[in-house]
Assembly symmetry: C2
């Protein structure tokens, strides 16, 4: 009984959500089973302790998770992160899937310079407002030994004639290049993408969500007609939405931004917006119809089929390592990451339960065989045969890292021909015969992927509200969520609401039957409800 009380106190401190969720009995069984089979180690406790509770402090919970799960960390350079191997492996999977989708829609990859001449930024009047403020400016091209003898100093004689900006986005350098690629309508469309790093000198940074340097892809396309460019803009935001849904298990809204929230230099910005578990919105991808703005700024014209010169129509679209932040915040819990199988660097972890070297070697050999069977299905498997940590520590660690399925085998399982299978999303465990291994694991990959999506969708639906009164809006925006409200369509009202509530219009949802109403703020007519939220 003392033991029970001890565990109960630990439970209240570190996992109140389990208590709330009325899984007490199950949890105690788990603890006892753990104890009997030596799952529990002091290290398990200490690992859980280091992650702040989601409900207590969402922001710290997020930072803890990113760091403890080995996704990323801050570097010695202000605002720049180190993406660690486990985090980068997830990003690589995102990249591979997106890259395939881009190629299937006719795009090719290319690479444009890291640096942009300062004068390029001021060519497009609105673009310069958005991007020429906080950026990394290269002014010199040489260091020299400090004449005073202390390390290195900038060589004053190596000043650049024109400063170079580390690209915050590449429209300007790319459209300057396209000028030479495009002569006639036969050269169009150009459908290029690049995978690159970009730098925006953000003052307040957070791992993945807002960093000075981040990784992204930026598509830049050139078209003969506005219609074709607008169709491309739409196509790519839909590629992003499908990717978010099918791969990240992330439900998103699609729609245009208001004029205020548009990309600097765009005629129209379409975006996808997702709801995080703290009720804040996160913009997960954008696709811009740039009109002829950049073609005019960089004098890019083509001869149409009648031989007349016209300016080229442009789009650009991008997603970044910010998606990593969205992935963590949308699905994870107080035990750690919850990764959709399609993005998990390790899909199944195999953990041996043993006493002594003899049991260890026979069980590990058995698990290696199970691993081979799963690898033959294309499943990524990790056999955790470390002998310096206990299995309970391993369980916690792989839960923290979000591995979708854990298979444990102890001496009794070995004798009975069974395996213990645990799924990360529901934390459910079952003991099953080894014979059905392949079918079970494949089904689990599928079920977990879908369940994570359904859970996120359910969360979003429960946290999307139609609100008509501004008073009610001001009160309820504090709790978070998507708010469907009427707005009079003016930037002035949008600005006032933002100032008073910190909420912005995330997008104008596209509905088959938009219903008119009256602006919750001014009472003026509104064509349809828009989505308000506080956002990352």
């Amino acid at each position: 009984m003392h033991l029970l009380i001890f565990y109960w106190s630990k439970l209240r401190t570190f996992a109140p959500n389990i208590i709330k969720s009325k899984k007490k009995n199950k949890f105690f069984y788990y603890l006892f089973k753990n104890k009997c089979s030596k799952y529990c180690t002091s290290k398990t406790g200490s690992m859980a302790k280091e992650i702040r509770n989601r409900e207590d402090n969402y922001s710290e919970w997020y930072n803890n998770l990113v760091i403890k799960a080995d996704l990323a960390e801050n570097s010695a350079v202000r605002g720049c992160m180190v993406i660690k191997p486990y985090g980068y492996a997830i990003w690589e999977k995102m990249q591979a899937d997106l890259d395939r989708r881009f190629k299937e829609t006719g795009h090719v990859n290319a690479y444009f310079p890291l640096f942009i001449p300062k004068s390029f930024l001021s060519r497009e009047a609105e673009h310069v407002e958005g991007f020429a403020k906080e950026c990394a400016v290269v002014t010199h091209h040489r260091l020299m030994a400090d004449p005073g003898g202390k390390g290195l100093v900038v060589d004053p004689s190596a000043r650049l004639e024109e400063e170079l900006i580390v690209r915050p986005t590449s429209e300007t350098i790319i459209w300057n290049t396209y000028r030479n690629w495009i002569k006639s309508y036969r050269d169009l469309p150009i459908l290029c993408n690049q995978w690159a790093n970009v730098v925006r000198w953000e003052m307040r940074t957070r791992l993945f969500l807002r960093t000075a340097e981040f990784l992204w892809q930026e598509g830049h396309t050139a078209h003969a007609t506005a219609q074709e460019a607008m169709a491309e803009t739409r196509k790519m935001v839909e590629v992003y939405a499908s990717f978010a849904k099918e791969v990240m298990a992330l439900p998103v809204w699609i729609g245009p931004k208001t004029a205020t929230e548009r990309f600097a230099g765009a005629v129209e910005t379409l975006c996808i917006e997702a709801l995080m578990q703290d009720g804040k919105a996160l913009q997960a991808g954008t696709s811009h119809f740039l009109g002829q703005n950049f073609a005019r700024a960089f004098d890019v014209q083509f001869a149409n089929s009648e031989g007349k010169l016209e300016y080229v129509w442009a789009t650009s679209w991008g997603v970044s390592t910010r998606l990593m932040g969205a992935l963590v915040m949308a699905h994870s819990d107080n035990n750690g990451l919850v990764l959709p199988p399609k993005l998990a660097p390790v899909q199944v972890v195999l953990v041996p339960i043993y006493k002594g070297e003899e049991e260890r070697s026979s069980i590990c050999a058995h698990l290696a065989n199970i691993g081979t069977r799963l690898q033959a299905l294309g499943i990524t498997v990790k056999l955790d045969d470390r002998d310096n940590v206990r299995s309970g520590f391993k369980f916690s660690e792989w839960e923290l890292k979000g591995v979708p399925v854990r298979i444990a085998v102890g001496p009794r399982d070995l004798a009975n021909g069974t395996i213990e299978v645990a799924r990360r999303d529901t934390l459910e465990k079952q003991i099953v015969p080894l014979g059905g291994l392949e079918d079970l694991v494949q089904k689990l990959m599928h079920d977990i992927q879908n369940n994570i999506y359904d859970k996120a969708l359910d969360f979003r639906n429960k946290n999307t509200f139609e609100i008509n009164s501004y008073d009610e809006f001001r009160e309820r925006i504090e709790e978070g969520g998507f708010f469907l409200c009427h707005w009079d369509g003016t930037p002035e009202t949008e600005a006032r609401i933002k100032e008073e509530t910190k909420a912005t219009i995330r997008l104008i949802p596209e509905r088959e039957d938009p219903r008119p109403g009256n602006c919750m703020y001014t009472g003026k007519p509104s064509a349809q409800r828009v989505v308000f939220a506080r956002a990352y």
Copy 2:
């Protein structure tokens, strides 16, 4: 006969190598066949005209090829290139294959910051000499509107406390990060790689071979013992050599550099060196044993199994977009690129020969069917169904772009159930029954890959010379090639030979029975011959 003379004069001007190679008869047949089937267009001539002859001016030939084959071009930013989609597609194939090899040898990818604090560069005494000279220095983080009203100026109030250097290589920032990752021998080895862009402010740049910004991968590993780190250094240079041979069809020598030519901060540098068609050597990859130099500079220690603190042992290794230059220079000819099938973005191009729309549509449908059959084998196929250029133009263009196999079908082929198959490496053509398509194309992929390698190997063997007299060396180095010569092992002699002949020691070849001799320059004893060459 007038026509013959006309073609002959064209031939002498644009393709003297064909005349030299005694393929006159074949060529005239080709021209007539072309004429009969309307292959020849004025555009064909103009395309060939734009590529300088390899024998006349190798350097211009190379630049022409890179630009005309759409691999890359210079950008508006001095020394920075734009890698165009066709060039980037080749680089992507290189990346994919290398990345697979890195992962198979236990490495994982990660990402470290673009910027390095200035003070980091001076921590390792030799490293700073090599890398702190010509680099891009970020001094400010904001632009502002010019008070004088003309565009943008650097905001003087946004000066950074410490300047940041755009990474020329990442040893310093990575070892500063590893300090926090490594506590005990259990944390070792760390086997990280990153795919990234780097910047070295080169004064004279050439597309792919030497650019201010280039793309590369850099592996950075940390080990508990010198022995293990040295084994890693060796393993990775062998990965590079296998990749060069098996994928790039590039024979390379493997061996250590002399102390003079080592990476700044390395204890030992192993490299691969290839011979280009102009007789100059090109360093295609390096792998460095860094000893404990960076661990000492950044205070990275680990507790060994007895609990004692030791400094960590390091390696780093890299290849870059320079490999693209090596690929072009090693295999191409006066008709354009010659790509090994394993790196060709298009492996088989299908060209219809037709008169009128009816023939065009039936032949294109037939070719599309052929394309489907080849795609089922995993072969990348392009059907060139453009109706605004003639087939002769298409032939030249795909030859220029190095597509390994061309399949042409005309009305007679359609009637007879045949195809005309041409291979890019030998320029041979044959008319074969359609039935054997799959076997033939698969065999060709294999044969062409091997033939390109054999040809390059043969070239290298014919241009590798054992020379004993310095006078002879000075004379023959002008013709190019690898020169196996005795050297007394001193940096002084090495420097004098370099000054007098522009030749450097490319590597010290590893031989089972190194034979001693006397230095060709000083006559002093030499343990074995080393490889001298002029180099890129």
